[in-house]
Symmetry: C2
Amino acid sequence: MTEISNALGLSNCDDFLFNLVCNEFLSAEEMEIIQQSSIQLKFQRGEAIIKQGARSTHIAYLSKGVVKHVYEDETGRNLILAISSAPNLIGGANMFYNGKNAFTIFALEACHACLIDISALKQVILMNSQFALKLFEVASDMFHDAIFNFISLAHKHVNGRVADIFIYLSRSIYKSEKFTLSLTRKELSEFAGVSQENVITTLSKFKHEGIISVEGKSIEILDFDKLIKISKIG
Amino acid sequence: MTEISNALGLSNCDDFLFNLVCNEFLSAEEMEIIQQSSIQLKFQRGEAIIKQGARSTHIAYLSKGVVKHVYEDETGRNLILAISSAPNLIGGANMFYNGKNAFTIFALEACHACLIDISALKQVILMNSQFALKLFEVASDMFHDAIFNFISLAHKHVNGRVADIFIYLSRSIYKSEKFTLSLTRKELSEFAGVSQENVITTLSKFKHEGIISVEGKSIEILDFDKLIKISKIG
DNA sequence: CGCGAGCTTGACGTTGTTCAACTAGAGTGG
DNA sequence: CCACTCTAGTTGAACAACGTCAAGCTCGCG
């Protein structure tokens, strides 16, 4: 990847991590097929990487940044299905749907992503079943994240839902107990499935109880055990 | 399948429909591998076909009956993730998880199911990538059902949720506008993520408004359009 | 005939949404 | 340098939605 092509946001998809993920499964020839039909792009916060309703022509390998998976319903209300951070394969769940993307993936911060052509990918799957199994696992993981979130939405009140979200963000996305939130309060509420005001009130409560420290977008989880306890009781 | 082995609930897994699904993808040899390690069983209402937390050793091909996919949480509250009816492959989402089943699958009525050994299935996947793609599609379908339900839980009130459930049951499970419900009111409430009383009240309301006809377990959808309208406004 | 499981209805308190007002910071143009 | 405006965040009060509780119902079965 040259400096110039990189600056233009155009290059083949030869990200180091992507190689790392795939190399143990792919032959040079197979890797070549995927690289030929792939393209490396940069996205800014708010840009859609994969758009709901559009024909699913590609999935993406996220090499830098954080994204949200959003379902936009008829009434214009949004629901965040999941958050993913690099390095990760995203959009795989669209791959075998009816040809249209089931949800939109938005960049939450500056992102580098490699768009991989689905037909090339299928071609490689047919050549290499080990790789098929691997892809299966990745898609499966997202499914289980979704179930987890599901439970939270179905049975828990705001306290439990917000607790779940911060446990998820800390463990799976930012991988630290101290992080700078890439989501707005409104986005938090679209993740929790409650009103923005309700999320804010709950955050204030957690702050006053010394469970988390909140300074705008700077979050620190002070009492992880208590957060888990809140998550459990709902 | 002899009459005797059928009565005992024991036989190889040579269900006609199962053959139908697989034959276009599997060779005789591959089919043989799967059949050798599979077993045909009968289940009564309430019996678990696949148990949450147990090691995922098999998935199932449901040739007769209706099942529920249930997540049982720490506090003993249940959440129905999805309903499936025959003919269908069930439990596929557990296949590539961390080795333990993420949810339980219960028979809602008398069911015939063929338990298929996962290691045999993986063996065949490695031999035949066409088959891998097919399995991928099946698992993908369940994922999209789950997302659909997700939205319903996140943003809609009881009216919308109950409407969604009856649309789903009518279209995807019973495939008729008139059917005999295999779920109790309590199970409906575990599907909708609201209290049983709330489901009942809503059903009564729909009945008085002439949207559905309810006589115990006998349901008939009288005004599908109105049901869809209710689903949309939430 | 009586019992129990599933179903139904209404009253009441809790939880959540909506609305409206207010604050703080960032960007813009005179 | 200071209004002006726009966006994100915050707080409280009024109202609607939901869960819980308690009571009564129906139907099948011993």
